[in-house]
């Protein structure tokens, strides 16, 4: 299996993008917009020249500032799918896909991406999902050794997105190329990538498998980015082996993690149960937050309920049974072992 190494520093407007990655399967770079994610792809593709760095595929250097080597983009075997797809508006679908194919079979690709019947259409006539498939087919027609995807799902509507995400995951598995994928959506990253790197202001805050990031977020940003609830408070030694955290609202929470001082309490929505009444003796959960029911959002077969400062995820059936409605009062409970304490 091929391995892409990328280790470079690229000065951006207000900070420097500083990245060191070793990619042999799919790595997702996630982070807020303006974190330098797209710039990272541009460096690997040869569209941006970093101050210092090395980019190499299986030991063969594409960029090595130490030996003043930098191959132009057309001599790096990358397939880059742009965020807005950057299809050539003056060329048909077939001509777009054939652009970098150098005689390789274009028809097979058109069929594989189900764009054969659109072969003579122009990009302006296509839907978002179709454009995305043309962009992928065009990038693959070039026979890339490395795949770079910039927000491949961002331009799609919610309806198409789930399906396209599934197809893309299959494709990436099948291609088994070193792939760097950029997204601002953690769920997309977790669904598509083997490893996820959280990039903030040009620096990797944490790199790990999606499961690792959720189980052990290194800081408050990573935690909230991965979809966790984040409550701020002050930690002190509590009874037994537990840490007590006094929240800004005055309530006390307990965690099995050890910490002292200002901390963030991280709890994932699926660790939180929701009840209409609270009976302390009948509940093993130590932590109870009473609050007003805010929004109720259905996601597939589950419902995300906002209770006070917390988001909980319950099954649609439970939501119905509890007769949860916005404006009512509910109790959100979670175990001390279901929390993580992170530095703020």
């Amino acid at each position: 299996m091929a391995t892409l190494e990328a280790d470079f520093t690229l000065p951006l407007r207000t900070f420097a993008l500083d990245l060191a990655l070793e990619v042999s399967r799919t790595v997702a770079l996630v982070g807020p917009s303006g974190a330098g994610k797209t710039s990272a792809l541009r460096v690997v593709a040869g569209l941006a020249g970093p101050q210092r760095g090395r980019v190499a595929l299986d030991g063969e250097a594409w960029l090595d500032t130490a030996s003043r080597l930098s191959l132009p983009p057309d001599r790096r075997r990358v397939g880059l799918v742009f965020q807005d797809y950057a299809l050539f508006p003056h060329l048909s679908v077939r001509a777009n896909v054939a652009f970098g194919s150098r005689g390789r079979a274009v028809d097979a690709l058109l069929e594989r991406f189900r764009i054969g019947r659109l072969a003579s259409a122009h990009p302006a006539e296509l839907s978002g999902g179709e454009r995305q498939r043309v962009a992928l087919a065009r990038a693959l027609a070039r026979d890339p050794a490395v795949l770079l995807l910039d927000e491949p799902l961002a331009a799609l509507d919610a309806h198409t997105k789930a399906e396209v995400r599934h197809e893309l995951a299959e494709l990436l598995r099948e291609l088994a190329l070193p792939t760097i994928l950029v997204t601002h959506d953690y769920e997309d990253a977790a669904a598509l990538a083997d490893q996820v790197g959280v990039l903030v202001e040009g620096r990797l805050r944490q790199l790990g498998t999606p499961a690792e990031l959720v189980a052990r977020p290194l800081d408050a940003f990573v935690a909230s980015f991965t979809g966790a609830n984040l409550l701020r408070g002050r930690a002190r030694r509590g009874k037994g082996a537990l840490t007590a955290i006094r929240l800004e609202s005055g309530e006390d929470l307990y965690s099995a993690d050890e910490a002292e001082g200002e901390v963030g309490v991280v709890v994932y929505p699926w660790e939180v149960s929701v009840a209409r009444a609270h009976t302390p003796d009948a509940d093993s959960a130590l932590n109870v937050v009473r609050g007003q029911v805010g929004s109720l959002v259905e996601v597939a077969n589950r419902v995300r309920v906002r209770v006070g400062p917390l988001t909980a995820e319950v099954t649609a059936a439970s939501a119905e049974r509890l007769e949860l409605a916005a404006g009512g009062v509910a109790y959100a409970t979670f175990k001390a072992t279901g929390t993580r304490l992170v530095p703020l």
Binding site: R42, A45, D74, L80, A86, F88, L91, F99, G100, R138
Partner: protein
């Protein structure tokens, strides 16, 4: 607002209407048989053809460079390129003499190669190219700047080198803008008068272009000058339309891919 528009349009059209009101189609056609007119028309077309070919050939890469590269002094260069636009024609003529004339800055160098520009058709070409190229280059810079840089980047990552990217992506996408710029330059070149008469002279059949011939005829016989003017209006109009149609014409899909494409 409507009356202002009516006044402006009337003002712009009236001189042209006035010319045609006084020239019958028969008079217009009979102009073609007069040697002075025939010679002048030929000189105008030949000099403009060569000059516009040079403008396209040298102006296009210049404009692309100025549009896509960021370097120190770039905006100064862009201003300098546009400078001939604001020069009065007489000043342009003097400048050309001072630069390329027998006693000019490059006069000795040109002499050493046995090149004498004064009173030759080459001088007409230079005068026309000088006054018309800024119009083309200016428009071409704006057109190239409007091409989405991501499309250029996409072509590069798909394995196309700089020239293939230019011919297959940038140029086809810029065709309309370039056609508009070249139309303006061509119109300006065809009407070129001041710099030509000063730098190239008025030798019939060699340097006497149609506008120059009209001016000379104006001193002899106003009616003939009028008929020749009508002819120039018709010729410029026809050429402009033809040029626009040629450059904007979208070839059918299969051929378009190879029209400008160099071999890989």
């Amino acid at each position: 607002m409507f009356s202002a528009t009516a006044v402006a349009l009337a003002f712009l059209l009236l001189p042209i209407v006035a010319i045609f009101a006084r020239v019958s189609p028969g008079e217009l056609i009979s102009q073609f048989s007069r040697p002075v007119v025939k010679d002048a028309l030929l000189v105008s077309l030949k000099a403009n053809g060569v000059a516009q070919a040079l403008v396209l050939l040298l102006g296009t890469p210049t404009a692309y460079l100025l549009a896509t590269r960021r370097f120190r002094g770039r905006s100064l260069l862009v201003v300098l390129v546009e400078l001939p636009l604001v020069l009065p024609p007489a000043v342009a003529g003097i400048g050309l003499i001072a630069a390329f004339g027998r006693l000019g800055l490059l006069g000795n160098t040109l002499n050493a190669f046995g090149i004498q520009l004064g009173l030759t058709q080459a001088a007409v070409v230079i005068a026309v190219a000088y006054v018309s190229s800024p119009l083309y280059i200016r428009q071409a810079i704006a057109t190239f700047e409007a091409v989405d840089p991501n499309l250029v980047a996409a072509a590069r990552t798909l394995g196309a080198g700089r020239s293939r990217t230019f011919f297959r992506v940038v140029l086809p996408l810029s065709r309309r803008g370039l056609a508009a710029g070249e139309s303006l330059a061509f119109a300006r070149g065809l009407g070129e008068f001041g710099a030509t008469i000063m730098f190239a002279g008025t030798l019939q059949g060699v340097t006497q272009t149609l506008p120059v011939a009209i001016y000379q005829e104006f001193n002899n016989d106003f009616t003939t000058a009028l008929a020749m003017s009508a002819l120039l209006v018709v010729v410029s109009g026809a050429l402009l339309v033809a040029l626009r149609l040629t450059l904007q014409w979208q070839p059918s899909k299969p051929t378009s891919r190879f029209l400008f494409a160099p071999s890989r």
